[in-house]
Symmetry: C2
Subunit: 209 residues, 2 copies
């Protein structure tokens, strides 16, 4: 285990914790005090840390995703379960604005040819955030929804290109989950950088004013 | 205060907490037990709740953003402070991969005409996430960075259109912060919906297999 810790950069106490929580499969027992760990353990450790620390997922969500990866179900079903476990910020919907928000979401979905089910977590999250925007008096930001949806569609097509060629359901799901969680972080960071540059071009002139 | 609570939908205990934490300006005292609150309090309460609950910001970050909004500094500076307070997922950079990641980020910035400073929080966050992708063995996802950066640029241009027409620095900064924090949530939700649709088109066929 000391060797696994060195190879993966994960502390021994953390490895023990992951083993207890079922996030890591036990090594092959070679003596009462020793077990053999292989490349699959190193790989799984890295995935678990990325999901927990970069993705901000709960232990329970990570366990659910790993179970899905290891279950050898159909790729499509496993992808659904894995995506479902990923966290989403939810706004606070209320009845007064919910119907309005659902209609905006259905309009944008129709334009993009998306099939929607209202009970899906991302759809509910989106409806909640739109309600919050409206309750905050920023409903006009919702006018940009088409622009955002178009960007999301283009990114999703690009994301898919990276996973379709992979050989196993496990690798497809792992890549999709890592790409989704870390892709969110990449996109958020890039958006801040782009905003700072656009804002400097527009408002930077004030400095000389 | 009971009236403010009804008007804003925020519990009295929460309002008192925000007052203590300096997230809400005191009302005009009209008697030892009474104070008058106006529309500015309702508006501020909604902003604070959105930043805390949807944006996931810390109390300290919200206080910093509010101070920036209220400081009547130049719009550009206030925007910088406000953006700086927003949380970002950071990956774990290490020296081995950091130089590689910085080079990828500089390449993409050069293509888009962005000016970068490595000490900026979003740049550091991006470098960290790219390092994590590589450490996880998913470096090839970084090939999609140009596609992501192009989408980020288009969204930033669209975001700016919504704030340039606003009359005061306060309203520009408030709108930029709300749009950035809630825009992240909108984008993440839309990306999941788009991915599910693209994935259904590609992998849904398995169901019939």
């Amino acid at each position: 285990m000391a060797e696994l810790s060195r190879g993966s950069g994960v502390a021994v106490a953390t490895i023990k914790y992951y083993l207890r929580e079922g996030l890591l499969h036990p090594g092959e027992r070679t003596s009462p005090n020793q077990a053999r760990y292989d490349e699959s353990h190193v790989r799984r450790l890295r995935l678990v840390r990325a999901l927990l620390e970069v993705g901000g997922l709960s232990i329970a969500s990570v366990r659910e995703i790993l179970t899905a990866i290891d279950s050898h179900d159909r790729t499509y079903d496993v992808l659904g379960i894995a995506q479902h476990g990923l966290p989403l910020n939810r706004g606070s919907a209320n009845q007064r604005t919910e119907q309005w928000a659902i209609q905006r979401v259905e309009e944008v979905a129709a334009k993009r040819g998306w099939r929607l089910e209202l009970r899906q977590a991302p759809v509910q999250a989106l409806v909640g955030v739109l309600c919050t925007l409206r309750n905050l008096g920023h409903a006009r930001l919702v006018d940009a929804l088409d622009t955002y949806a178009e960007a999301a569609d283009r990114l999703a097509e690009s994301d898919l290109e990276f996973v379709v060629g992979l050989p196993t359901t496990e690798s497809i799901v792992e890549s999709a989950v890592v790409g989704t969680v870390l892709g969110d972080a990449v996109l958020v960071a890039l958006r801040r950088i782009a905003q700072a540059n656009v804002s400097a071009r527009r408002f930077g002139d004030e400095r000389r004013g």
